[in-house]
Amino acid sequence: MEKKRPQLSLDELHQLKWLLGGGLTLLALSTVAYMEIEAWELMGLTSVCAIDCTLWPTLPARVPPLVHLLAFPLIVAVFVGDLWLTASPLPAMVRLDMLLLLYRSVSYRQRRDDLQVIVLGLFLIVVAGVLTVSLLFAAQLLVYTAWALAFLLVVTLVSSAEGPASESGKVKNVAPPWAVHADWPRLARRLRAVADWRVVALGGGLFAGVVAVSALLFLAIPRFQIENSLFLDRFMSKKVKTGFNDSIKFGDVTEIQQDTSVALSVDVTDRTQLPASPYWRMLVLDQYDNGTFKLSPILRRSAFGSERTDTIVHGEVRPKLGAAVTWTFYLESGVSRYLPLLGGFEVLRFRDHQNFRLGALVDVLALRDEPLTMTAYRVEGFEISDLLFDPKFPTAARRREHTIQTWINVSPEDHVTLDRMSNEIAGGAKLGAEAFSRRAIEWLRKNHSYSMSPTLPPGTGDPLVRWVASREAGHCEFFAGALVLLARNAGFAARVVTGFRGGTWNGYSASFTVRNSDAHAWAEIFDPAVGAWRRADALEIAAAAQGPETKSEAAIVARSDRSWSARLDSLRIFWYRRIVNFDQRSQLETLKEVKIAAQSSGQHLRDTVVGAMAALRAWLAAPWSFTRGVKLVAVIGVLLALVWATWQHGREVRRMFLRGGRGGCGDPVRADASRWLARLRPAEDSAREVCAVVGELQRLRFGARTTWPAPEPVFRRARQAWRAQRSARRRVSRS
């Protein structure tokens, strides 16, 4: 007899529902951790309450009835007060959501309360996803969906097992029987006993189907842009995490360098155009004052245009013949409001409207606000060079409009020190900007080594001058600052540029990844001979590395990153490319790609079949030998063996699947007889043959083994009878 699987009792279903509800609450609360909302205490309290009440379900019975009475007025009052005090609607709503979750965690939930928990949790997940646009959201949403579906399933089962009358009349401060008898290890054992692996596998398969269908729906949902968009981040006050600002003290870039998280990902249509060691410039700092470089108001005024709101930014670079290389940037949140660029460009496109100011003369683009989410932009026609042409600068310098870029705000003693070092670099000769820059770099490399933990020598005066005069090690900021001071002291205009240098090629996503640890600072010295700002980096790996000869496939392959972190980064890139950055144009591109893929795969299939047929014909037409004969016989033998094995054991495998591993009718003959009996149900007017076959099948199914007829002939006759019945039924239905 078939062994019957046990069923969960109503109490056990309640316990499972309680456990899933608690887990769902915790999952939703975890999103607050990276939402940058000041609710740590509330999150901690809610989490602790949710964990405790989930594990010990009798605890909610100890909550005084007065709390239930006052809960909702209090929550509403707290929300109104919060909104009034902070004037920030979204954080207040998140805190309200958490308060409601807290209350639902410490009280016994009915069906509508369970639904409320799901909706509250979904709100937190969606808000976190919209605010962060991170890959973590995708994982969290998937887990949440699966969990919520399981929760809803159990809620429905509980409702159907309880009946409609169970919803009312529950007392909140009395522990229900299921809570009193909760025993989680026992529940786990019961779940294991109840679970059927086929049903679980089907559930997993169906959920995979849900993900696939949602992906298809995501691709297929028609997109059109509605202007004047209402976005959640407008309801939040902005807060910069870290990154490049208008003013950088010594040590700021080093702090960023400690962080190995991804700052920027770049897609490029022609990867051979990628320099070996690209410099991603973000900000130009021209004013120096006691160890701090900052963007001077003069440069801000003169180099940057007025603020505009648009999706397209036209650069100073003239369009060239041929298709321009397109660079798609995905800048992570919290890095900076200054966008990394390789130099001047033809055109830059944002996904949404942005408020920005373009500094065309300094190749800097600044957004008005610090983006809280990933910012994607596409640039066409980069002009990559270590020279930044500035034809207006000599005239302005002559009119003494840019004296700030030549001014050194140090004491007379420090001036003397700088003079001494300048003479040492130039050797008393009058050098051009390029030569001075080269010699200064050599001098700095000779006297200072690179270190991420530099030490400033003690003493008075300007800290940077003290460092230059010493033989202490330093990092990029020191070297860049020293170069600027030495160049200015020698009479050249100079400034510090901050951004990133280098990066790695992700072999999985075919994109370029720049991490925060690639943060860098370098100097730019104005060369009057060419009328351009010349990049001077004392920490440049090799001067030749920027040459066009290194822009090759081999160079890219050589610096490809194929580590596990690169795999994770490729997932993030996929997320940005295919999900976050998906728009109407991407939709059309995807359609085209699907069409092309379908056509090419069809062609590929046809080619494969034609090729295989041709190979077979050629093989058959070739002269026969003993070896070829043996091969042919072996292939035929293997095929026959496969057919035989399928014939003999295929049904057993199928039966094993249908039995579900446990229980079931153990004897294959009895199982087959049972199957045929289920198919052949003799009616009153059945033929005598059908009745006879059914009798024999019943003997095989229920009778003692010693009384069995030979099974195979019985099954054959059963098959014939079943086919006859089926054709008769079809005839009847047609008539």
Binding site: E2, K4, R111, R112, L115, V119, L122, V126, G129, V130, V133, F137, L141, T145, L149, L152, L153, V155, T156, L157, S159, S160, A161, E162, G163, D196, R198, V199, L202, L206, F207, V210, V211, V213, S214, A215, L217, F218, I221, R223, F224, I226, S229, L230, F231, L232, R351, D352, I579, V580, N581, F582, D583, F657, L658, G660, A678, R681, R730, S733
Partner: protein, 406 residues
């Protein structure tokens, strides 16, 4: 909706529900709901739709792909809900099992047998709406249009129809295992005698997530006859019963020791009564009937003249009284025959005869337009007839003497 035989398995898992597979039918079933299928969103479903609409609006308003992906996931969950609901109902068959006799005012059991034909998927959370309504005689009715029926009080008629109907709901509270069977019982009290139609109105489910309430009309219906309710009555001593003349015996079946006759075996007969030798000879199962030990008995003659029984409640009492007397007399072995109005008398020899009479009583209505026959007109021996006893009561008379009254 055609009525189906309640005893035959019905539903998605029944043999008759299986049709030859065609792609055309599959596609149509996906885009066009079947006739008897109904899907209504629950409050949770309405919330989900509202949520989806809100997220969709926000997605278009903000062009946020995060919201688009949430929206597509919600829509995919709705599709999953439909698929799981279809899987849950697939392979499930049901049938009604009614066990007569049913009597007015006494509890009756409607059994619903369920079968899950699926190979490894269980079925959960089904409910079954059952209805029992009096089968109305619609022969005199004609269809009305809005114009011809403008004077009708439709609300009142509908309220009357609702009042004449009893509804019940059965729920499958446990898991119905694959290849498993279950039995649910609906216990209710039929209020009136007569023909009663018991219908499995719909099979519904909130499975799996409770967003949509799916119900399938089954059209599974069975008719049963509800016998009159038993009533309490008072017996009166009958002064002189007419006994047959000496040596005269009226042959009738009973529980005596003498063989009275042989008849065909019928379901319910005791196996001890089978006459094996005669059965073997005739190749048909025959059972023995014994003669009654007592020759004293009564015949019941029920006359339903509307002129006599003008009050409906008194008429109902009459029918119940007659049925109770018939049963009591049969149990005592004293019921010889029954007659209804002008029908020829029927001898009552076995249970089936009594049941046939009770079935008739269940459906009997006052007979209009007949002459009132005086009590003295009945001159037959030991015939029990009925007459009003005051304004409300009913009395039974034998040979003109009151034998029992309510």
């Amino acid at each position: 909706m055609n009525a189906r035989d309640a005893n035959v398995w019905s539903g998605p898992g029944s043999r008759r529900a299986r049709r030859p597979f065609t792609w055309n039918a599959l596609l149509w079933s996906l885009v066009w709901p079947q006739r008897v299928h109904r899907i209504v969103p629950t409050p949770a479903g309405v919330i989900l739709f509202g949520l989806s609409m809100g997220i969709g609006t926000a997605a278009y308003n903000s062009s946020s792909n995060i919201l688009f992906i949430t929206l597509s996931l919600l829509l995919a969950c709705l599709i999953l809900s439909g698929v799981l609901s279809w899987l849950n109902l697939r392979g499930v068959a049901w049938r009604l099992q009614l066990a007569p006799p049913w009597r007015a005012g006494q509890e009756a059991v409607v059994a619903l047998e369920l079968r899950n034909e699926k190979k490894f998927l269980p079925t959960y959370g089904l409910w079954f709406s059952l209805a029992a309504r009096v089968v109305a005689d619609t022969r005199g009715f004609r269809p009305e249009s809005t114009w011809t029926g403008r004077n009708l009080d439709v609300r009142k008629m509908l309220a009357q129809a609702d009042a004449a109907e009893q509804r019940g709901q059965l729920a499958l509270r446990t898991r119905l295992d694959p290849r498993g069977e279950a039995r649910l019982e609906w216990v209710f009290k039929p209020e009136k005698r007569g023909a009663l139609g018991v219908e499995l109105a719909s099979v519904g489910s909130l499975f799996p997530f409770g967003f949509l309430k799916k119900s399938i009309g089954t059209g599974l219906r069975a008719e049963v006859v509800v016998w009159p309710a038993p009533v309490e009555y008072q017996r009166h001593a009958v002064a002189a019963w007419r006994r047959p003349a000496g040596g005269e015996r009226v042959p009738r079946a009973g529980s005596g020791g003498d063989l009275f006759a042989l008849r065909r075996y019928e379901q319910g007969d005791s196996h001890r009564l089978i006459h094996w030798k005669a059965s073997a000879r005739t190749r048909t199962l025959l059972v023995r009937q014994f003669s009654a030990e007592s020759a004293e008995g009564f015949s019941l003659w029920l006359r339903t003249d509307a002129a006599v029984w003008a009050r409906p409640e008194q008429f109902e009492l009459l029918v119940s009284f007659c049925a109770t007397l018939a049963e009591d007399l049969f149990r005592a072995g004293r019921l010889m025959g029954v007659a209804l109005d002008d029908e020829p008398p029927t001898p009552v020899r076995r249970m089936a005869d009594l049941e046939a009479f009770l079935n008739k009583l269940a459906l009997v209505r006052p007979r209009p337009g007949t002459t009132v026959v005086g009590m003295g007109a009945v001159e037959k021996q030991n015939v029990m007839i009925f007459a009003p006893d005051g304004a409300r009561g009913v009395a039974a008379y034998v040979d003109g003497k009151k034998a029992a009254s309510t």
